[in-house]
């Protein structure tokens, strides 16, 4: 079992969701985050003063998957989130030792669904 964490551009979320649903991955958690990587900042103006914004808004996805879904999920995220510009984001794959479904108490791969 793996936990896939991805940081993507907020405006690509609809495309990523669509790609994930097409890959039959339906369960995910979404949070708003701030972050930066290579995309160091962009400029905004406020009352005539230009200022650099260093922490940019991103959206973070967390998806728990069974091992047979890992590649499908990663490819779906890549397909949905890609724009070719700096700032497209990153995907992390973590090992997930245990997973429990609260309602039924199931554990392991069955709990991931």
């Amino acid at each position: 079992m793996k936990l896939i964490i991805a940081m993507i551009q907020p405006h690509k979320l609809p495309d990523v969701k669509k790609a994930l649903f097409e890959a039959e991955v339906y369960k995910l958690t979404v949070t708003n985050v701030l972050g930066c990587g290579q995309q160091k900042g962009y400029t905004e103006t406020y009352r005539g003063v230009i200022y650099e914004v260093n922490l940019l808004k991103k959206v973070r996805l967390e998806i728990a998957v069974n091992d047979d879904f890992v590649e499908k999920t990663i490819n779906a995220i890549k397909k949905g989130a890609y724009t070719g510009n700096i700032g497209d984001g990153k995907i992390f794959v973590l090992d997930l030792p245990r997973c429990i479904r609260i309602r039924t108490g199931e554990e392991g791969p069955a709990a991931i669904g």
């Binding site: 907020p10 405006h11 690509k12 979320l13 609809p14 985050v33 905004e44 103006t45 406020y46 959206v59």
Partner: protein, 419 residues
């Protein structure tokens, strides 16, 4: 200047200031009913409507609306306000009153076209409506034009302001297309909730407050005995409208939906705007209540059956209820009330006047909304196929605040998950 004249001028000016404050109401309603990532854009559109509207109405609109008529169709002089003779400055007060009305009509459209319209395309629209469409219809109905001569009654503007705005909004929303993610391939509609119902509620109350200038002010005379019952009619219709929506929504959707109840109050107010001086308070309640129900049915119809995306319900509140309010004059007019404000013996269908007034109201309404709709359809098409009407998909998803204005409305807040 004698006392009566002073009172008149003070009354006109006071009402103008109240109608001006309605723009705060419009801005808040639209901001509240749309997403946070577009709030700066909404603010700018509404604010520039006042700015451009007032200036353009000064140079072009007023003359077209109230100038010397050609064929009852359009005015031809009086374009820039000047001192007429000695110390009679009434025309300045009247100009201001009319100017804030014109801007009110224009701003209705910004709601229906929210969240996906290019800012400068909206400004072009603003120019055309305040320079031409609104003044021409206004000329027909208030400037001594052909509808005026037919006996058409639209006291404070259910047709001139609200229907013109509402049907221009329809043309705009149709040509724009729905917001991304609004409609699904299987013909169902998704809710795109507004981000601040409190702001919207504040907006509706400010609008209602401003309406007390909109309706009673249209007497253009502070010493007219009509102003008191016009104000009462206004209050009652707004209340009845909200109640009508509440009852209908609670029964139909099982929960009292705040956004529809707020729209209901506005619907009631729009509904009474044409006839506030010729109907009784009891009639006002009925007109308001029916408007409140009509608006809910209309919003549902336009969204789900016609599949036209109207983020704030502007087409329903202003267009449809504007037509209803106009026709209601033909049903509910009562000579007892009408004569107080100088309309000769007018009785609507329900008070023994037969179908005559109703027919005139119908002609006026149809011609005004057709004119507005067709001209605006042409204008928005011209904009769409030249400079572009709608922003790109990516701009729409990123939010118009960042893409059109280079700034955020709620800097420091994380508001960003897109559906």
């Amino acid at each position: 200047m004698d006392l009566a004249k002073s009172i008149d001028i003070i009354w006109i000016l006071l009402s103008s200031f109240l109608v001006f404050s309605m723009h705060a109401g419009f801005t808040l309603v639209e901001v509240g009913f749309t997403r946070a990532k577009n709030s700066v854009n909404i603010v700018m559109k509404n604010f520039m409507t006042i700015v451009l509207g007032i200036l353009i109405y000064f140079f072009i609109g007023y003359g077209i609306m109230f100038g010397k008529s050609i064929g009852g169709l359009i005015g031809t002089n009086n374009f820039i306000l000047k001192l007429l003779n000695n110390s009679d400055t009434t025309n300045f007060a009247i100009w201001l009153f009319q100017a804030v009305f014109a801007a009110t009509s224009a701003t209705i459209v910004s709601g229906a076209m929210a969240e996906r319209t290019k800012f400068y395309s909206y400004l072009i629209f603003c120019f055309v409506i305040t320079a031409f469409v609104y003044p021409v219809v206004g000329h027909w109905i208030w400037g001594g034009g052909w509808l005026n001569k037919l006996g058409f009654i639209d006291f404070a503007g259910s047709t001139v302001v609200h229907s013109v705005g509402g049907f221009s909004a329809l043309a705009g929303a149709m040509l724009l297309g729905p917001r991304f993610g609004k409609y699904n391939k299987n013909k169902t509609s998704n809710a795109i909730p507004g981000h601040s119902i409190p702001l919207a509620a504040l907006g509706v109350i400010i609008l209602w407050f401003g309406w007390f200038g909109f309706n009673p002010g249209s007497t253009l005379s502070g010493s007219s005995p009509a102003i008191s019952f016009i104000a009462v009619n206004t209050a009652l219709a707004g209340a009845a409208g909200a109640l009508g929506s509440l009852v209908y929504v609670w029964l139909k959707y099982k929960k009292p939906d705040a956004s529809m109840v707020l729209n209901g109050a506005l619907a009631g107010l729009v509904g009474i705007t044409a006839g506030c001086t010729v109907v009784s308070p009891l009639s006002s309640i009925i007109i308001g209540f029916i408007s409140g129900i009509i608006v809910v049915i209309s919003v549902d119809f336009i969204d789900k059956k016609l599949r036209i995306d109207d983020p704030v319900g502007a087409i329903s509140v202003h267009g449809i209820c504007g037509v209803f309010g106009t026709l209601a004059v033909g049903l509910f007019a009562q000579a007892d009330y009408a004569r107080i404000s100088g309309f000769d013996k007018i009785n609507g269908l329900f008070f023994g006047g037969g179908f005559k007034q109703l027919l005139v109201q119908f002609i006026g309404s149809i011609s005004s909304i057709s004119f507005s709709f067709i001209i605006m359809l042409a204008l928005f098409s011209a904009i769409k196929y030249s400079v572009g009407l709608r922003v790109s998909r990516e701009e729409e998803l990123k939010g118009l605040d960042i893409t059109e204005h280079g700034m955020e409305a709620y800097s420091g807040f994380q508001i960003f998950t897109n559906e």
